[in-house]
């Protein structure tokens, strides 16, 4: 038990013990491993303008910048460019999973150093990137989806445990939700934002750009109408708050993820937000239940393409693929033992693969799929037992 809990009332002690248990429980690091792979390109995109300037012979100190603190170390020009280049190399190594921990820590160090060099370097998307890299650096997320793991296998050494204490995952979930929450709250508390003034003025000022889009006149009129923004602003604020809160509950999580993807794509088309959209969508992977291969997918060996497709896209390792009797339909056994077959099973599988989830999640609302998920027959006892052993929840 946590030292802070000693001497506390029994109920508080129990609460702290439960909290400790939650944070210390070993869970799959698969989602963080996937995020690590996806974070590398975000770092390269982030460093690109700095490196591009450096190759043209310019660095931050050649023009206005504002150090956070006088004591913060500033490197000679050539060394600074070398450090940025090291950061780019480390980001590639981090994505590939080569000397993963070292690469991730180095990437984090370089990005952090560069951002804190000047107040002018700071943007919300970079702050989010920094948080993600910091938590990836402390999580053992290089034991799968990595060259390190591949080299280990090639040398015939046993694979390292891919589960680890859950606290970095919980912290990143908190940060992810906090970002939507803080953004939504700041707009909720600002009468100009919640009343629609801010969005209305932004759109009206960009009217020329809006008219350059292939939009009908009525759409342009609607988007520049103040009354429309009175409602639209509230919708935006409530969307952000819904994402922030909805991610925490199982019943609303998939809807929150789906809405978050739309939200990020909408932002990307309407504003320059550097790596925020890409990173925001990539981080959503961490909301997957942190256990792997705890659903069984049975595929007729004659339908090899299906098996290849699912295995290739199952980046979060949701399914254990087993052969089904020839001629039988696709069959999925969910964590609770529910068995789904045929088209509903296809929809379910696609809804659990990161690349197809956004398209497939709405199909889970179709009556036929809902019926199948509710009323599917129980799985054979052996499969249920295997599921339980895999730690499914």
């Amino acid at each position: 038990m946590n030292a802070a809990a000693v001497g506390a009332p029994p109920r508080t002690r129990a609460l702290i013990a439960a909290f400790d248990d939650l944070l210390g429980r070993a869970v799959s690091m698969r989602a963080l491993a996937l995020l690590r792979v996806l974070a590398g390109p975000a770092v390269l995109l982030h460093l690109q303008p700095f490196l591009s300037d450096a190759w043209d012979g310019r660095i931050y100190s050649d023009a206005f910048y504002e150090p956070y603190a006088a004591w913060y170390p500033e490197l000679p020009d050539a060394v600074y460019v070398g450090v940025l280049s090291l950061g780019a190399v480390a980001a590639v190594a981090m994505s590939l999973g080569l000397l993963t921990r070292l690469a991730t820590v180095t990437t984090f160090g370089v990005v952090a150093y560069n951002i804190f060099l000047s107040t002018t370097h700071f943007h919300n998307n970079r702050a989010y990137l920094l948080i993600v890299l910091g938590l990836l650096a402390v999580a053992p997320c290089g034991r799968e989806l990595s060259l390190d793991a591949w080299v280990r296998r090639r040398r015939g050494r046993p694979a390292l445990d891919t589960s680890a204490p859950a606290w970095p995952l919980w912290l990143l979930r908190f940060e992810c939700a906090a970002i939507y929450g803080a953004s939504g709250l700041s707009k909720l508390l600002d009468p100009d934002w919640f009343g629609g003034t801010v969005t209305w003025q932004r759109v009206v000022r960009e009217r020329d750009a809006l008219e350059a889009w292939p939009l009908p006149d009525w759409a342009v009129s609607l988007l520049t109408d103040r009354g429309f923004h009175t409602g639209a602003a509230k919708f935006i604020v409530l969307t952000e708050l819904f994402i922030a809160l909805g991610l925490w509950w199982r019943g609303t999580r998939y809807a929150a993820v789906w809405v978050a993807v739309v939200f990020h794509l909408a932002i990307e088309t309407s504003a320059a937000v550097q790596v925020f959209s890409y990173l925001g969508i990539a981080v959503l992977a961490i909301w997957a239940v942190p256990s792997t291969r705890d659903r069984v997918l049975r595929i007729d060996p004659g339908r090899r393409r299906w098996a290849t497709l699912v295995c290739g896209l199952d980046w979060l390792a949701r399914f254990r693929v087993e052969p089904a009797p020839p001629g039988s339909p696709l069959e999925v056994v969910d964590r609770d033992g529910t068995t789904i077959r045929g088209a509903p099973a296809v929809a379910f599988v696609m809804s659990r693969l990161p690349l197809t989830a956004w398209f497939a999640l709405p199909t889970l609302l179709l009556p036929a799929v809902r019926r199948a998920r509710r009323g599917g027959g129980p799985a054979p006892a052996a499969s249920v037992a295997a599921n339980s052993a895999a730690g499914g929840s």
Binding site: A63, T120, F122, Y128, A182, S183, L185, R205, A271
Partner: protein, 137 residues
């Protein structure tokens, strides 16, 4: 303890965002539709007020100040991260230019007469000045 500390720090930074100019880690996205423009001049030792649109002593404002929407301050701009943030950057930029133009032997200080429109409020006019440059005048 690490988790509790990080959560507390994050919440504190979100709260700090309502008070600070730069709002680091406060995640207040697209906070305002406010706009601003500024007439920036160099005030010389003999009292002349020379617009920074004109190059001086081999310097150009748009080469010295390139980021955070400050390159062409005389053009009305959106304050991307809010007016407080934008004007804090402009204030810092005036100081930086004052400190980093050693060939300029005539400028005593830089001054920006800023007109700002907070969302749809009426315009406000304010003045920002760099510190005095040593050894001039």
């Amino acid at each position: 303890m690490v988790v509790v500390a990080v959560v507390a720090l994050q919440l504190a930074l979100v709260a700090r965002g309502y008070l600070s100019d730069h709002k680091e880690f406060a995640f207040q996205m697209f906070p305002e539709s406010s706009t601003w423009r500024a007439d920036v001049v160099r005030v010389t030792a003999d009292g002349r007020r020379v617009p920074i649109e004109r190059p001086w002593s081999g310097y150009r404002w748009d080469e010295l100040v390139q980021s955070r929407g400050l390159r062409y301050p005389w053009v009305r701009h959106h304050a991307d991260a809010g007016l407080d943030n934008q004007l804090a950057f402009l204030d810092a930029a005036l100081d930086w230019v004052a400190d980093n133009t050693p060939r300029d032997a005539e400028t005593r200080y830089l001054e920006a007469r800023v007109t700002s429109w907070h969302n749809d409020d009426s315009p406000r006019v304010g003045v920002l000045r760099s510190h005095f440059r040593e050894g001039v005048g």
